[in-house]
Assembly symmetry: C2
Homo-oligomer: 150 residues x 2
DNA sequence: TTAAATAGTTGTAATATCTAATTATTAGCA
DNA sequence: TGCTAATAATTAGATATTACAACTATTTAA
């Protein structure tokens, strides 16, 4: 089978946005505890990197600091995150996920995983292994640390 | 190597949003001819399905008809698409991409493919083959017709 | 010890997106 | 046939999201 970079790129460009669309719909369609994808990514990142600064989160998620400041405002207003001053550098803030935030993160994560696992359930094991291998390769290429991303 | 559905799903959920973020930044960062991802997907879909109705495009891209109506307004205002009445059913509208729209679509597509191909260039052929196989599997699972999606 | 750099927030504006209501047209059926 | 229901699209109105520029507070370093 011929595998040239251009063709692989084209396939990625066709497939990735549609998977993303499924993930987005899944996350938004749960009454009251819905999250946008950026909100989800912020919660997941901060949950794994407790005490992250605003800049770190903004950088990870790909938003500007002002946008992230407002996004965090919203999550704090919903009681999902907390912001406190960094005692070592009082310009910085330390972000954390509240218990309630963790609960919602967990629920949304599980729901989304079920959605995806359900889709993947139609595939036989070797296809799923191909997906795992591919994602592993893509993970390195897009510089995503293990068990971190989202 | 153990490959269970749950684990594959988790990996997808970690990796896909980050690839998407790269695609989004790439598409937006070209002065004057920038497109949002939904705009890009609309142009790509209509270009391959000339005369699509508003509902068909909205359905494909995952937006409501009112949102799509406004999105299309914007693309028409930029001279990238045209809207005309369907003679067979005058409730419907037939959407097409203008020459200018095709040109911009082409440029943005090529730019994004270069971005992706560049990333993929760091991988050896068997990794790229794994990616192709995985995308092929995902394509069927998410019901993405060949050479269509975006 | 003050100028420059850094972290974050606020002001303002442009998009993007939704639900509900409205208009126009077609389809179904008694 | 003629009326009702269904469908396709748009408009109205509201809310979210996001950006850039300007500002405040704090730290670094010359």
């Amino acid at each position: 089978m011929t595998v040239d970079r251009e063709e692989s790129a084209r396939t990625l460009l066709e497939v990735v946005p549609i998977i993303m669309q499924g993930i987005r719909l899944e996350m938004r369609n749960r009454r009251l505890l819905d999250l946008t994808v950026p909100q989800f990514r912020v919660l997941a990142f901060v949950n794994r990197n407790k005490g992250s600064s605003l800049w770190e989160v903004a950088n990870h998620v790909g938003l500007t600091p002002p946008s992230m400041s407002r996004l965090v405002d919203g999550l704090i207003a919903r009681g999902l995150m907390a912001r406190k001053d960094d005692p070592d550098d009082r310009r910085r803030v330390q972000l954390t996920v509240t218990g309630r935030g963790q609960a919602i993160l967990e629920t949304v994560t599980q729901g989304t995983l079920s959605y995806l696992a359900d889709k993947l359930g139609d595939l036989d094991a070797d296809k799923r292994e191909a997906i795992d291998n591919a994602m592993e390769a893509l993970r390195t290429v897009f510089a995503i640390p293990h068990g971190d991303g989202r």
